[in-house]
């Protein structure tokens, strides 16, 4: 999965005019993240997940979504955080990437937000590389900051391994 073969992503779409964009807000720990709403297929509650032996540690397993096999990704692990205890209630956001479905396991899913480019900013240089790697920038919300998750980079586990 090299960067140049990736389809149009949030990264390439962002620096447009002052149009509004819609994001699904999710929370991990205390931080709010956003996923472009057009990429989101489903929002799921806790699912029965089949573990996949020998898989990268970010892969939680696979699940059946209406007859399609979806690979579940522990976003916490991907961000270098500890996974929540097994009994914690989690939510999942199902996104499509290169024709495959991935279920991103997060702590909670908020609402769909309309965000405008004039609130967008690139990462401050002090941001941790782990976050920088999987996101394209930050929106200033009234009461919080929303980090935009770049789904293709998030699913690029090869890079995660190297990092």
């Amino acid at each position: 999965m090299s960067k140049n073969t990736l389809p149009a992503t949030t990264k390439s779409r962002l620096p447009a005019k002052t149009e509004g964009r819609q994001f699904v807000s999710i929370t991990i720990g205390k931080q709010t993240f956003g996923i472009p709403v057009l990429l989101v297929h489903d929002v799921l509650g806790p699912q029965r997940i089949t573990r996949i032996p020998l898989a990268p540690k970010e892969v939680a397993g696979s699940l059946n979504l209406r007859g399609r096999i979806v690979t579940a990704i522990q976003v916490r692990r991907r961000l270098g955080l500890d996974a929540l205890p097994a009994d914690a209630a989690t939510m999942s956001v199902v996104v499509e990437h290169q024709g495959e479905l991935y279920s991103l396991i997060v702590d909670g899913v908020g609402e769909v937000l309309m965000l405008y480019d004039h609130d967008f900013e690139n990462h401050p240089p002090t941001m941790s590389p782990r976050i920088r790697e999987v996101s394209s920038g930050i929106y200033r919300l009234k009461e919080a900051l929303l980090v935009v998750l770049d789904v293709p980079s998030l699913l690029d586990l090869v890079r995660a391994e190297a990092a």
Binding site: R51, I52, V59, S62, N64, T71
Partner: protein, 911 residues
């Protein structure tokens, strides 16, 4: 009807209807080049196909019209209505011929000399001949007579000039043709009592069965005065294969959903859903079957070329061979069919070439002059079995054994212990041919290994039975379809997995007190199964599964799934075995594709996702790299090649000849370019200051003097604090290659020659140049250890001649007394004969007894039980290290790490 013919009819009929339209267009736009080219191409295609199918009459008509069209296309002729009519007439003639072909599966006798003559005349430039001439063909027997408008013409109407042929003329031709051209008794000159007003002559000329069909066809068509359209063409439509695949996928999903519903229904007895569900289930099954059928083709399609191949071969080889094909209508999936076509052809060739003897030999041994090759296909339990048997000379085990030994696939010692069946299996190895001479037909050493690989690729297996002097029989077992497979669901550590049923041979229940008890050899579980040791693979260990608490197997009872991959049989340890289920194999997500243990995943009837284990991957991961008989592991193309792995080689030029030289890259510390003007001399030997030290330089060609100026590349070999530079002319490349060294012991500077990157290359012995630079290269840094090592007896066990040759001088220089053998068996033979050694170095991956087995054998033998064994391998995963220690290796050294090896050895013997 012959599949090929029916395809031809379909295609040609389509082409013809297109032509009709296009030629009319042409008449209106005589200068449309694109149109002309297209018409030309279509007629050309028809001509070509006819020629291919051996239909001379059709071919000649098509050829003549092609000529005319060619001239028109090239501008030599102008498009005139008469010309167009003539071409259309020839097309009609072709249509008529096709209709007969369709009804009787044979081209009608006779010729179309008149039509062709007129076409030729047109091509010559003469204006379209007088249409009246059309009737003058009475002089030539014409089985396709033109039929009067009343009664309406039957399907065989050609010429399409109704009314031009007088009825009496027709009758005359009719009689003439029947009598002259056909001598079948059925070809009565009188019209049969068929209801058709104008029964086709063809009807009478064919045997009864075909006749009745043709009559039916004729009568059907006869109530329509227009020329009948091809029945075959009407009965088939062409559908894009993708569309079928898509349909298949959808049906597969439906089957899965049905299974889920059934499972729910099973839990809830007496539900009102039960009856409709059963109906749904039945309909789904039928639908699945129906869709599968659309992809099915008779295996005869894959065989259609074989009679010709066998005939040609027999001719070329002076043999008499009958090819018998049974079960040609056995149907199998189109995709599978494509994949087995080539292997089948190859095997039949083999039978004809290697198997069947020449007539005189056959007579001499009391067989009939004619050899027989039989192809037989049939269904058996969800599989297709294809047998290819011949009554030829059979495989000669002695010959194969000799060849295997000569090729180094086994040692003589090992060969003695092999069963006939195991010996036969050598023919599935790469580069193995029993034909004494290489013919144009076979014996080129590419063959059965490719066949086996191809068949295994589609989940099939191949077996071989052979009796010397009586013939051989290959049995190929392949799945009906690749889309849905039957799988066994098993559980290990609370996780469920599917194992494709095709690779499962049997299930064994093992418990401590039953007859089947799992025993351990140095931590490696094995099972005695019918007097053979079955290697066991634990899923728990293989997949790093974690046992959760309370998940301990309740009753010390495990199940063993005995799986077979190629000829390698092994057992997979699981906790529980569930049902078998039909599953649709879906590929795993791209981020998981690197895990070789899984061939895919699927959704089970209960809706859960489950991984499908790949027995191939498991076999490979558990050390059976080449997946063959454990007693004869495959070393692929050449036994002297270095394991299955490739070696990075530095290719360079230097020395007195232009032959490229190579040295394992891992032996080279650095590549430098030195300024020759900086070279200093001490006692006439060149030195250079390098990193604050004096480094001796050795020119590749010892006789040549180094130049005094300019720059030259140098390979630096470093050992601790000392370095030495080998001055070469040019560094060519670094290649990853397997090296097969042809040993040439007469030149001390060379290890031998090998083909590297397609060129003959000399592999240099780095050790030779090192000793040139420093007489004491190998012992300077272990002065004290040399006293330890000197005279120590050391046994090197490595299947690769290259490594034996690399290590022997290296270790000899270091003071050891080295004995090198090619395998564990030979090593144990030395043990048997009472030899003693101070230390053993063994490779891990070796054919036959591998390093692990050797270590176990050494440890369990009282004579050598205390001899330290150092493992030498390119395989150094944590599991390997662990396994190595468990079986009793003293230490583990990576291949090609010379320093570590010497140090380890010194430590080991000094300990």
């Amino acid at each position: 009807m012959d599949e090929l013919l029916s395809e031809f009819l379909t295609e040609t009929t389509e082409n013809l209807s297109q032509l009709d339209v296009e030629i009319v267009h042409l008449e209106q736009n005589p200068n449309d080049q694109a149109l002309l080219s297209n018409i030309f191409r279509l007629v050309h295609t028809i001509k070509g196909t006819c020629g291919f199918l051996g239909l001379p009459r059709l071919e000649s008509v098509a050829h003549a019209s092609e000529n005319v069209l060619g001239k028109i296309r090239d501008g030599e002729l102008v498009v005139t209505p008469t010309g167009i009519s003539l071409i259309l007439e020839s097309l009609d003639c072709i249509k008529g011929l096709l209709a007969t072909l369709e009804a009787t599966e044979a081209e009608p006798e006779g010729s179309d000399g008149d039509l062709i003559a007129r076409l030729n005349a047109l091509a010559e430039g003469a204006e379209g001949a007088d249409p009246a001439e059309a009737v003058s063909f009475g002089s030539e027997p014409e089985p396709e007579p033109e039929i009067d408008d009343t009664p309406p013409p039957g399907s065989e109407v050609i010429g399409t000039r109704p009314g031009e042929v007088p009825l009496d003329e027709l009758d005359r031709i009719f009689n003439e043709t029947s009598v002259d051209d056909f001598d079948t008794p059925e070809a009565a000159p009188t019209p049969p009592a068929a209801p058709a007003p104008a029964p086709a002559p063809a009807v009478q000329s064919t045997p009864a069965a075909a006749a009745s069909k043709a009559v039916a066809v004729a009568s059907e068509a006869s109530d329509d005065s227009a020329p009948r359209e091809s029945q075959v063409a009407n009965q088939t439509i062409r559908v894009n294969v993708d569309q079928l695949e898509n349909l298949m996928t959808m049906v597969s999903e439906l089957v899965l959903t049905r299974n889920q519903l059934l499972q729910i229904a099973r839990r809830e007895k007496d539900s009102e859903f039960t009856v409709p569900l059963q109906r749904l289930s039945q309909v789904t099954s039928e639908l699945q079957e129906g869709v599968m059928k659309t992809r099915m083709q008779p295996i005869g399609n894959a065989w259609s070329k074989l009679p010709r191949i066998v005939r040609d071969l027999a001719h070329e080889l002076g043999k008499k061979i009958d090819l018998v094909m049974l079960g040609a209508d056995t149907e199998l999936d189109r995709q599978v069919l494509e994949l087995i076509k080539d292997p089948l052809t190859h095997m039949v060739r083999n039978s004809a070439d290697h198997g069947v003897e020449t007539p005189d030999v056959r007579m001499a041994v009391g067989k009939s002059e004619h050899g027989k090759i039989t192809l037989n296909a049939y269904h058996e339990g969800g599989h297709i079995l294809i047998e290819i048997s011949d009554d030829g000379r059979g495989l000669d085990p002695a010959k194969i054994k000799a060849k295997a030994i000569a090729n180094g696939l086994v040692s003589e010692l090992e060969a003695e212990a092999l069963t006939e069946q195991q010996i036969h299996h050598f023919i599935f190895r790469a580069g193995f041919s029993t034909a004494a001479a290489v013919t144009s037909v076979s014996g080129r050493g590419v063959g059965m290994d490719v066949v086996r690989t191809n068949i295994e690729k589609i989940g099939g297996t191949i077996e071989l039975q052979s009796k010397l002097g009586r013939g051989s029989r290959f049995i190929i077992k392949i799945p009906l379809t690749l889309a849905i497979v039957s799988a066994l669901i098993v559980e290990a550590c609370g996780e469920r997995f599917a194992i494709p049923q095709l690779s499962v041979i049997e299930l064994v229940r093992a418990s401590a007190d039953s007859e089947h008890r799992i025993e351990e050899v140095q931590g490696t579980p094995v099972l005695r199964l019918r007097n053979r040791l079955l290697p066991l693979v634990s899923l728990e260990r293989l997949l790093n599964l974690e046992r959760t608490q309370g998940d301990e197997p309740a009753s010390k009872q495990t199940f063993i799934v005995v799986a077979q991959v190629g000829t390698y049989t092994f057992g997979i340890l699981v906790d529980r075995v569930f049902d078998t289920e039909e599953i649709v194999v879906k590929p795993v997500a791209p981020i998981l594709r690197h895990i070789a243990m899984f061939s895919g995943n699927t959704i089970l009837g209960d809706g859960s996702v489950i991984m499908i284990l790949d027995p191939n991957g498991i076999a490979q991961a558990t050390g059976e790299l080449s997946v063959t008989d454990p007693n004869a592991a495959d070393e692929a193309a050449d036994h002297r090649s270095i394991g299955m792995s490739t070696v990075s080689l530095l290719v360079f030029r230097g020395g007195s000849d232009a032959t490229p030289k190579a040295v394992p890259l891992s032996l080279v510390a650095r590549l430098e370019e030195i300024d020759l003007s900086l070279v200093e001399y001490s006692e006439g030997r060149p030195l250079i200051q390098y990193r604050g030290q004096l480094m001796p330089l050795i020119p590749m060609d010892s006789r040549a003097e180094l130049k005094r100026e300019g720059r030259q590349p140098v390979l630096v070999f470093t050992d601790d604090s000392r370095s030495m530079g080998l001055v070469v002319d040019e560094i060519v490349d670094i290649v990853e290659d397997r090296i097969n060294v042809e040993v040439r012991p007469d030149s001390p500077a060379l290890m031998g020659s090998a083909v590297i990157a397609g060129k003959a290359t000399d592999v240099i012995d780095a050790g030779y140049y090192l000793t040139q630079a420093f007489g004491d290269w190998f012992d300077h840094n272990n002065e004290e250890t040399l006293s330890v090592t000197r005279g120590r007896r050391l046994l090197v066990v490595d299947d690769s001649a290259f490594f034996r040759n690399l290590l022997t001088p290296l270790l000899s220089v270091a003071g050891y007394e080295v004995t090198a053998v090619a395998g564990g068996e030979q090593a144990m033979a030395l043990c048997e004969s009472g030899d003693t050694f101070d230390v053993i170095i063994s490779d891990i991956e070796m054919p036959g007894m591998d390093g692990f087995q050797l270590a176990e054998a050494v440890r369990s033998d009282s004579r050598w039980a205390d001899v330290p064994i150092v493992a030498l391998s390119s395989r150094t995963t944590a599991e390997d290290l662990e396994r190595g220690r468990q079986v009793g290796f003293t230490d583990y050294v990576a291949k090609l790490d010379r320093d570590a090896l010497l140090e380890t050895l010194a430590q080991t013997v000094g300990a």
